[in-house]
Subunit: 501 residues, 4 copies
């Protein structure tokens, strides 16, 4: 409402009350102005009402929402379904232009602003989460794997001879496929066992660099967030190798923004050596739906080059989700989530420790992994071949999601490459185990239910083993779910793939 | 509500009425069942209420919506913002798995069903729109350009020697960049002028194939939908060349689904020769927000290969949009839109013809282009260098979107390649012109407003020319928009880029 | 967004585009300003986007949405459920104050504006619909019956001796109960049969006025909209009687706004005689949910007195619904609905005429009733006692809603008063009949389906009659609804009550 | 989705996952079934997803949502605006029928169920809140005042001679007007001062009963929730008088559900004496929008009589709001809110005590009032006539809502009755004071902000007083709201009315 509208309003109801309402409006506007001027995540989360006002104001700046617009092009932001228009807050034009996913669209000033502000907010949060010297970043509506591919495709133009990507092994399919898809040959560096932990074999990396020749290597592709007992790569040392040999360095930081340790590793790597880009998932770090990632780096122009590599426009949906989320949370809300995650990690760790000991198992000692934990399934595995997979199946049917059992000796071929001991990040880990993770947004109730159900499943499997029987474990439990009649192996296989992908 | 709930309901209100309500429920369920069983777009669009019931039913099959779920993984579909959850109808897990964007997710049966059904519906619509023998297709949450890149990256693994992509020139940046991004060298084939039309130079294509050698060619990359006076490529003949030389053929069918002519060309090409995949935009053909495309083809296993190339999960948002849209419209509703578009094309064509003649210009004769039209700006161009660009700027500020003025002699460099006569698809088109298109969803009111505003702008430019003055054209018009104080050239440049991208 | 925000926006994306967006915003604001200044229904319906912007702007003027508010009262507009807040667009304070339902609330300038504007729009529409000289009106969140009660309670204070209300009979329970609830004794004036029509017995009215004495009569309570063969009361003549004897006149115009004839009667009545207030339903005339009414009149101060009679605040929900509806439709949209209704009335009339003749029945000749029609069920009734009621039950179970069968000889007691021939508005109508109405929003498809199903039901009943059998009529039809196993009488009874209430 | 749909789903994605999803569905259905069978508020609040499923399921049982319905009546639940339909979850038919607001509608089984269940849930909550022996209740879409009127109108039919209502004075307009509107003469019983408290003068009540004669008295109309220093009426004793003299007793329990003390008084009154009905506001007790009330009582048939008095259908909106709210909260959530309110009352009480002492004022000692508090404004009042009203105005413009200043000597005439000392519930309270209340949903932040702002305002008024100046108090504060240029008296007057109504 403009001045004339307020004046008209004053004639309808008391001027004093209208003026009070008009004042109140200013506080919403003030927040919006601060956001646009500073480009930072507000400390305190916004009210839903301010948020919707803001989105509404942006949307009416797009030509598809102009009351007097007439469109005679092939792409005019027309929408057939009112449900669809509404769920996108009437942002229809997407983000970017053919030249550049970060470019401004003449037809869509509002969507363009949305895109700029989101990237700016996300940059702010990355700094806050520990990578203080990050130079630029952008949200891309593709998941982590495809975003890594885009980074590799960008590097190709700078390194015409390159054929190989050096990759310390991590048994997760999409990061492996990201290299294949980009058309490069992954050079797998096996991890070394230090105590219970699987860590980067730096010597093997350097030896391989020398063997293949730096010019033939597109980049080193390292990983922070990963399932225990693998731990984050030794980023500092890898970054130094990259700097020494003039090799680019791309970091898969999939769900690392939520961990100050992972972020610290990146910050340190960039300080002492070379990191060209680090890529993180939106959904895993910001509790939004799957489908977006952030590509960030320390050199503004390289990040811009990547953004210019994306051919054509792109969905604004992931940007919109993360914008809504960050404005709702505020930086304080996000920090609170990070803090709670850390606390939940300790709690989960303690609970698993206790439970494992009750079953003569143990929590693997993996102090370098800040998110994922592993508990041995030794005794289970000894007695019976299929007991480990059966446990996985039982947990699945009891609505425990995200727990992952890792048996010994699994072999898998991905895009022509064969991995022995697949899922365990090494050819021969000493024992079978089970993973659980404390990720952002986890609640104490999740931990408690998990421990309770795991306890019951372990008990049931034990009992069966002792009876040499297959199907009569105790099924009475809090959530009364009838056991699904399925071959455990099939489900398990899927469970594996899920866990590992 | 289950049987017991209905029974309880009957005790609260009259059994007769509850039973009537229960009957009514069955008609919704019946529609849902038909959809799941047949996998076809319903003839009549669904009621919003059936649609929401269906989405709700699917969503509660995803583990993040299980009432008893406990999550201990790193990706559990948690959502921080209720607004975000709601706008996605609580589908959070996205689609696909690390191995394959079409794969089923154990954690998300509902999202997986959504994905399968959407692809099935879209396949049905592609058949209905004219490509009857299409074998498979899938929705990918990337715009057309990046989807073409994915096709090229997939082909790379099958054609290790290939370096080149044969590409009949079309002045649109993202399809050009899609080849660059994939790491290939585009070989531009200039078009030939036939009457007013710019058409594929088949001889030059074949000559180039022989010159470079088929093995070194990744594919021919042709185009259907394009701005007049360029017309769709001669797909049949290109398809035959591809078949003869054993070269793959990828068709950029960006906004071609809406035109029976474009679809017919693809169908014919596949019948007489070789087409490996054709790619179309979701937003341009289905009136949904920007950000998705459909990759389709005649060989099921090749389409599956492409879907397996996408590393990692992906956003379900474009799939959800097109699902909602198609279920709301029904196949009858979609056919009606196609019919109206065709009618609007005739209407637009007639109106431009009339107007152009009033200004001693003419409508270019481009009968092979079913969507886009062009009107000469000869007299304008003769008198004054900047008059054409000024017209573009004036249309923009008057909220005419999508119209595109094409001056002579524009030169542009894209990813190191220089295009003379950029925007006109040829080095030297005989005259400057203006484009307008009749795309799906266009209304008669769009045409009328456009013609009215164009008339005013042309009048104003003429007047100025005669006065040798720059800034006093008549600005009184229906939509009272004050002229924005900007250097016309700048806006024009943007307008160009927009139009051409 | 204010000026500073736009300036900040210009630094993020191109100033030219932001300015264009800013211009576009003004057109929304312009519409809002016009509404507030003129208080009239816009000719053309508003875009959903303007509408939501407007509601949002109003809502943030209410204290419960102030960002800095602190509430220490007992009624602060706090909301426990976000779903509830959202569905009310965050208008929580309702309308009115303890003194007056039309009064302004200091805590809620936005809700107060909403209330004022809604009343103003509704007044505009009442004029447009034919009562040009209406002086004032207000929306009240009570259905027609309770609103009539409020009018009677207001009159009580002006006519301390009054005990009776003169009421030309109409067999509809809630208008009858509105008098009982207000504490008065209805004096029923039986209708006279003129041709097929039942019309007001003016002589009986005047005789009763003289018999009881004007001072003892609270008012005459007349009716416009009613089921055929009853027709609207002779308002002009009644109004003259009221004027002559100094008796107030309250008109139940329940669903009369949709009919120019009903509105014309009111306008004429007020011109030549006396009408104090006329009451109409919101849902029946404006296609909104049940629960609101409009109390209107020709004397501003009397309408204000009524509004001051409502003790306490009231729900804003009906006002909000009608506001959204009228702004969406615009006056043109509403006029179009009125026109379509009229056309549908002719269509329905013709279709029933044809069908009735095929069954040796006839359409009753009721030219004074502009909304409701009646078709005789003579032959049906002759053969079999229960055939008429059975027909009603069959139509109900076949999802024909709103059709009403009226058998002969039904007797009903309401609040101690016994009505012979209940439902037929007279003690002894010559024959049984069936009613159908053409109300606002009816579609041709409704008529066609109704005629088709009625045809089938009549056929089935006939067949049964000839077979002297009870349960084997043909049930194959378009909507495949299994016959519900219920005693027809029970359903019928309900159907009666529904129809008549 | 029915069995066939799930089977079809299993063919599209893995049967194991579909079955898991199907299991998950059952837990939602289980909750719905429990609700329908028990009719009790669930202990734990429902998930939004269960809630929406439930509402959706109910809505499709209404005939306006039948896919095959054809409507030929005058009221078919048609909706013109999709926004309106959606915000009502497609419940359009309202609740009740002409005969009875609690009756079942044949056309709307879903709305009828909604109505029954809501009333059942609300009854459960009233018991839980302390009135264990309540027999029946119903939600009515009218605020407290009009609901009281309905009770009085119902009693009229049972007590033909009655003219008077005995009413211990409480200075709140709408409960006073509720008697006037119903057509009765309020007999005001002045309160007696006991310490700081104003309490029921039982002797005066009984004397008045004897004086007027029980048959001429419609009922005693008592009040629980009220502003300090008035305290809840002595319900037990009043109930005994009512029982002894055979006089009905209606209790205005406006915002008393939130207080166990108020509820206890009602329970006790009914146990030892007579209470016919008690009426409470929905918005004030359940944090929903203004517009609904609950009429409850200990005699099932009397409550039914009242519900049958409401002539015609009514809005379902307030019922829907309270249903959503209670299902979201669960009884545990509601109990938690009650507990927090009590704690906040202590906190507010302590903070006001401290502040008042700092200004040589004191907290009035009103231990019988469980919700409202009062702080003297003696020193303020002594120095300056207008200081008290000025304080009210200052608080209002600083976005303190709900605080109420009560000067001495205010006189007001309501419907012809003159009240001396209006707002203070007595002709001559010893001093001016300020009210604040701890109502359900209040947050600690509300209290803290209030105390801070009150402190500043008091300081400013003092300063002014000492300067004998009118307009220069210190305005720097947290919320930077410019002082509105209005005559303080005007605002104050409004503030008064607001507070008292």
């Amino acid at each position: 409402m403009n001045r004339e509208s307020f004046a008209a309003g004053e004639r309808l109801v008391s001027p004093a009350y209208v003026r009070q309402g008009c004042e109140a409006r200013r506080s919403h506007e003030h927040l919006i102005r601060l956001l646009l001027e500073k480009g930072k995540c507000p400390e305190n989360g916004w009210d839903e009402s301010t948020l919707e006002l803001f989105l509404h104001e942006l949307a009416i700046m797009d030509s598809n929402n102009f009351l007097g617009n007439c469109g005679v092009g092939e792409r005019e932001g027309r929408v057939a379904s009112a449900l669809v228009a509404r769920r996108h807050y009437r942002f229809i034009h997407g983000i970017g232009r053919s030249g550049d996913i970060s470019a401004v669209q003449p037809k869509a000033a509002g969507s363009s602003l949305l895109n700029k502000i989101t990237n700016s907010l996300v940059l702010d949060i990355i700094k806050l989460a520990g990578v203080h010297t990050v130079a630029n970043c952008f949200v891309v509506p593709m998941a982590t794997g495809m975003s890594l591919t885009l980074c590799f495709l960008t590097l190709r133009h700078k390194r015409p001879k390159a054929k190989y990507i050096i990759w310390p092994r991590i048994d997760q399919k999409s990061c492996f496929k990201s290299m294949i898809t980009a058309g490069f040959e992954p050079v797998v560096i096996e991890n070394v066992l230090e105590g219970d932990e699987l860590r980067t074999d730096l010597k093997a990396v350097e030896a391989k660099v020398q063997e293949l020749g730096p010019d033939y290597i597109l980049c080193i592709h390292s990983t922070t967030s990963c399932f225990a007992p693998r731990v984050p790569d030794r980023l500092e040392e890898l970054a130094v190798i990259c700097a020494n040999y003039g090799i680019p360095h791309i970091v898969n930081n999939a769900y690392g923004v939520q961990s100050s340790k992972c972020m610290h590793l990146i910050q340190q790597g960039a300080r002492v050596g070379r990191i060209d880009a680090f890529v993180q998932s939106l959904d895993k770090n910001f509790m939004v739906p799957v489908g977006g990632a952030i590509i960030a780096g320390f050199n503004d122009s390289f990040i811009q080059e990547i953004s210019k590599m994306y051919p054509g426009r792109a969905s604004a949906s992931p940007s919109l989700d993360v914008l809504i989320t960050l404005l709702s949370l505020g930086s304080n809300g996000y920090k609170k989530l990070l803090k709670e995650r850390k606390e939940m990690f300790s709690y989960l760790s303690n609970q698993i420790k206790k439970l494992s000991e009750a079953y003569n198992e143990r929590l693997l000692h993996t102090p370098h992994n800040p998110i994922s934990l592993a508990m041995t399934l030794k005794t289970l595995d000894e007695h019976h071949d299929e007991a480990v997979t059966q446990l996985g199946s039982m947990l699945f049917t009891r609505q425990v999601s995200g727990a992952r059992v890792v048996p010994l000796g699994s072999v898998q071929t991905v895009s022509g490459y064969t991995f022995r001991g697949f899922m365990s990040h090494t050819n021969n880990y000493p024992c079978a185990y089970l993973n659980a993770a404390s990720a952002i947004g986890m609640k104490m109730q999740d931990v408690d239910l998990f421990i309770k159900r795991l306890d019951k499943c372990l008990k049931a499997v034990r009992k069966e083993q002792s009876k040499e029987s297959d199907d009569n474990y105790d099924k009475t439990e809090d959530v009364d779910i009838e056991e699904m009649a399925l071959k455990p192996d099939n489900v398990l296989l899927d469970t594996y793939q899920d866990a590992s992908s």
